[in-house]
């Protein structure tokens, strides 16, 4: 599946795996260090509440299939989450070994070992991790809008329970940000698409089509028993300053998508790059540029380092890779020599206040993404809050329209993959709960 998307050479191929797969011996040695806490803090820290001590003990006893089952039962995208989760601030960060001043258990790497091993074995015709219930006459039809992590998770859990989910995706490639947005040293496109293939193998249908354009919301509401909105976010935000429009200024997520999917993208002539923003996307772009060999990469952030929303452990990595940080710098104008970008004029605040020109050939804007207000508004009863996020019940993820649920970045404004999976799983659970049992599959 998706072979054509993966043929040819893309820039992400130059970025190797930052945390390679464990060998079985390495995994067992680390698994045996786990204390097997009860009521463990790592489980409490996981948005999908994976029973971490149990899956780790299963690795220790060489029951890798069982370990994968424990993980995927709670988090069907446990494979990509193992690689993209900020474990330093979630499970690993809460490991009791930290309180003992000892090296915590590498939970993410163990989760990757279990899921990658079991998924590859299943793909090769080995034992199935899960056998979906057969779709009986009571099977429900659910339309899911967008093929990102939230929809994939919701669809997978519906399929496992014997229902018929159909995902509508407007892009050529499914997977959402797992395919097009995650830093390549964490997860490559091929790995993300392999995980999508697994979800589809559970009985999930994928159709290409944009709701509101080719696909009519009225028909979805009529034909399906429930709708799940996994819309994600829209275009990269713009600064709104002079000189911004034109070549040499890139939206961060659009750029990462090209890095991962566009064979024609090169960084020729880019010697100095400025990344505007202080969040995790800004750090990702900066690290990717530095790792791809751009000699001078600087992040431009309007406040001081302590206020950055990006994770401290990611920023520390970026600094080690040579990324500079320009603090308290507010962009005023993109400077150009004719068409070509020459740099960015910023206003520095604080003790050394004043204007400064930062020279660069490329400027990358990582200052958030717009909200896809339009699609959500096509469904009657679905409302948006002041930030543009879809309003849902926090437990069931149901919107103002009782047939419509939502999850992922479109309800939280942009969080982790693991949060999207939790949304999708809980929405599926509540859909099934709320359908009259006599008619359920």
């Amino acid at each position: 599946m998706f072979d054509s998307a993966l043929s040819g050479v893309r820039l992400e191929d130059q970025l190797p795996d930052a945390k390679p797969l464990y060998t079985p011996g390495q995994a067992r040695a680390e698994a045996e260090r786990c204390l097997y806490c009860s009521d463990a803090p790592c489980v409490r820290a996981c948005p999908t509440e994976i029973d971490i001590p149990t899956f780790i003990k299963k690795i220790a006893t060489d029951n890798v299939l069982g370990a994968a089952r424990t993980i995927l039962k709670q988090n069907i995208l446990g494979y990509s989450c193992a690689r993209v989760c900020p474990v330093e601030v979630l499970c690993v960060g809460s490991c009791v070994y930290n309180d003992w001043h000892r090296e915590p258990i590498p939970i993410g790497k163990l989760q990757r070992f279990a899921t990658e091993t079991a998924l590859e074995e299943e793909a090769r015709g080995g034992p199935r991790i899960f056998t979906p219930k057969p779709a009986g006459p009571g099977a429900r039809r659910v339309a899911l809008v967008g093929a990102g992590p939230a929809s994939l998770a919701c669809a997978a859990y519906l399929a496992l329970e014997g229902h018929r989910p159909v995902i509508f995706e407007k892009r050529a490639l499914p997977g959402g940000l797992n395919s097009t947005g995650v830093a390549p040293y964490k997860l490559h496109l091929a790995d993300a698409l392999a995980e999508v293939s697994y979800v589809l193998s559970l009985g999930v249908e994928l159709r290409q089509g944009a709701v509101g354009e080719g696909v009519s919301p009225e028909e979805l509401l009529q034909e399906y028993d429930a709708i799940f909105l996994g819309l994600g976010l829209g275009e990269d935000n713009r600064l709104g300053i002079p000189g911004e429009d034109g070549p040499g200024v890139y939206g961060a997520t659009a750029f990462i998508e090209r890095l991962k999917t566009d064979q024609s993208l090169t960084l020729n002539g880019l010697r100095r790059a400025l990344v505007v923003g202080g969040g995790n996307t800004a750090i990702d772009v900066a690290r990717e540029l530095a790792q791809l060999g751009v000699p001078d990469v600087a992040m431009v952030y309007r406040r001081e380092r302590a206020s950055m929303s990006g994770y401290a452990h990611e920023m520390a990595q970026a600094r080690m890779e040579g990324v500079r940080l320009v603090e308290r710098a507010t962009p005023l104008a993109v400077l150009r020599d004719g068409e070509r970008v020459r740099g960015l004029r910023v206003a520095i605040s604080g003790p050394e206040a004043g204007e400064q020109d930062l020279l660069a050939e490329g400027i990358f804007l990582a200052i958030g993404q717009s909200k896809l207000r339009a699609v959500a508004s096509l469904f009657p009863g679905v409302t948006l809050d002041s930030r543009g996020c879809v309003v849902v019940d926090p437990i069931s993820r149901r919107t103002g329209n009782p047939k419509v649920y939502a999850g992922g970045d479109c309800i939280n404004g942009g969080k982790e993959v693991v949060n999207a999976v939790a949304d999708g799983r809980e929405a599926a659970r509540h859909m099934i709960q709320d359908w009259p049992t006599a008619e359920a599959a």
């Binding site: 045996e32 806490c37 009860s38 009521d39 803090p41 009791v96 070994y97 309180d99 003992w100």
Partner: protein
């Protein structure tokens, strides 16, 4: 520095650390390297008529990452010609006159015993050890544990050996018996000068689940072996203590064997009555070099406790090994959790809930005890505890959920302290009372031993 030198029924050695009769004492070259490393004595790999061995021979039990917690072998006695072994023993003795070299022996007829004892002693060896313990292979031929399990035979062969021997005779006992005193008495009655124990425990170390053959595998079959290593230490300590407190057997010095890996293990054996200790598995795992720490550690311990000689440690704990009926029924301890050290793993909580007496609760509230009731037992209400959370003092300022012990319910079993991974976090603290010492035997004597709630109440 304390005096570690030993005189065991006339066998002198610079320290109590001997190598047991096993692969580490197979050859002169090995034993000399061991003496150079610091070992005080060596019991040579058992001599007899040479045998053939199988391949493979060893198996092990690993536990949670620790290799060779238990070890098993199906190797027989020496497979080298007698003449070679005797020549090498003489050479070792000549080069290391102050170290103890004991020759382990295993033959069948009285004539064979006579001849092998004479030739062994001609090497200048310091003593003999009769191998009545090997529980695999040799016992099928009427030797090893086949002797050790028959007190009458053990006594008779011991008396033969004593008849022929000029040097001290140690009898090595097998643990594969119902009561260790029976072979112990037989050895005393046969005239033995000393005892050594334990030999290995009859065992199957595991099963190859793909081939359906027990381990270690010899082609398509396997056989039972002898089990040793750290896992058998408690069994050895018990048998040692039984012999050490019995008036008939404790007249003989004992060489303690069984899972000794560290100076601390050795000190425990000596405190329960051993004069010397013999080590094998730990050396097979890590090499002769471990003796350096054993010597330093033991003498450091003796120094710290003001003992001038290792002899002062010998048997110190024997008198405190009693029958259950002699224990104080009024002594009481409860668990105290030190919040400063707790890391919040809740292992004490789950162990107490599922494996003990439901007396430890999560900081958020009481555990659910019997049948889903909010609490259980004599005290239905758990009072709110003042220590619910503990904030670590270091810069991380992390908050740890510290479980709560219901001290009125705690029966002082130790389980929580045993499962706690952090040293010094859970302490078992004595709860003083004024009831005085009263054992079960005291109650029987006073006629107050009846506990209500039995069959005929």
């Amino acid at each position: 520095m304390a005096d570690l030198s030993i005189d065991m029924c006339g066998i002198k050695s610079p320290n109590p650390f001997w190598l047991a009769s096993a692969p580490p004492t197979n050859s002169g070259e090995q034993v000399m390297r061991a003496f150079d490393a610091g070992w005080g004595g060596a019991v040579w790999k058992t001599l007899g008529n040479p045998i053939v061995n199988v391949s493979s021979r060893f198996g092990a039990v690993d536990y949670n990452g620790q290799k060779m917690m238990g070890f098993n072998n199906i190797e027989l006695i020496t497979d080298r010609p007698l003449e070679v072994n005797l020549r090498e023993i003489a050479e070792v003795k000549k080069r290391y006159p102050k170290h103890a070299v004991i020759v382990s022996l295993m033959v069948e007829s009285k004539q064979e015993w006579k001849d092998i004892i004479r030739r062994s002693e001609d090497t200048g060896a310091d003593g003999l050890e009769l191998n009545f313990g090997c529980p695999h292979g040799m016992c099928e031929r009427g030797m090893g544990s086949a002797v050790g399990q028959e007190p009458a035979v053990l006594k008779e062969i011991t008396s033969w050996a004593k008849e022929f021997a000029r040097t001290p005779v140690l009898v090595k006992l097998t643990p594969n018996v119902g009561d260790i005193l029976e072979p112990g008495y037989a050895a005393v009655d046969g005239g033995a000068d000393g005892l050594s124990l334990i030999n290995t425990i009859k065992s199957i170390v595991g099963v190859d689940l793909e081939r359906m053959v027990p381990l270690p595998r010899v082609g398509q079959f396997s056989t039972n072996g002898g089990y040793c290593g750290p896992a058998v230490k408690p069994i050895a300590l018990h048998m040692l203590a039984v012999l050490a407190r019995d008036r008939h057997t404790n007249r003989l010095p004992i060489s303690g064997i069984g899972g000794i890996s560290t100076w601390r293990d050795a000190a425990e054996f000596i405190a329960l009555g051993a004069t010397t200790v013999q080590v094998c598995t730990a050396v097979m795992h890590y090499g002769y070099r471990i003796v350096e720490d054993m010597i330093e550690g033991l003498s450091g311990y003796l120094d710290r406790h003001g003992m001038k000689s290792v002899k002062e440690l010998r048997g110190r704990a024997v008198g405190n090994y009693r029958e259950w009926g002699e224990l104080d029924l009024n002594y009481n301890v409860v668990a105290k959790i030190n919040g400063d050290r707790c890391i919040g793993c809740q292992l004490c909580y789950i162990a107490c809930l599922d494996g003990a007496h439901q007396c430890i609760h999560l900081p958020e509230g009481p555990c659910r005890g019997w049948h889903g009731e909010p609490d259980h037992g004599k005290h239905p209400r758990l009072e709110p505890s003042p220590v619910l959370f503990h904030r670590h003092p270091d810069p991380s300022n992390r908050q740890v959920r510290v479980p709560v012990v219901d001290e009125r319910e705690c029966i002082g079993c130790n389980l929580c302290a045993l499962v706690c991974p952090v040293e010094g976090c859970i302490e078992m603290v004595e709860v003083p009372n004024n009831q005085g010492f009263e054992s079960w035997q005291d109650r029987v004597a006073k006629g107050t031993d009846k506990v209500p709630g039995g069959l005929y109440d």
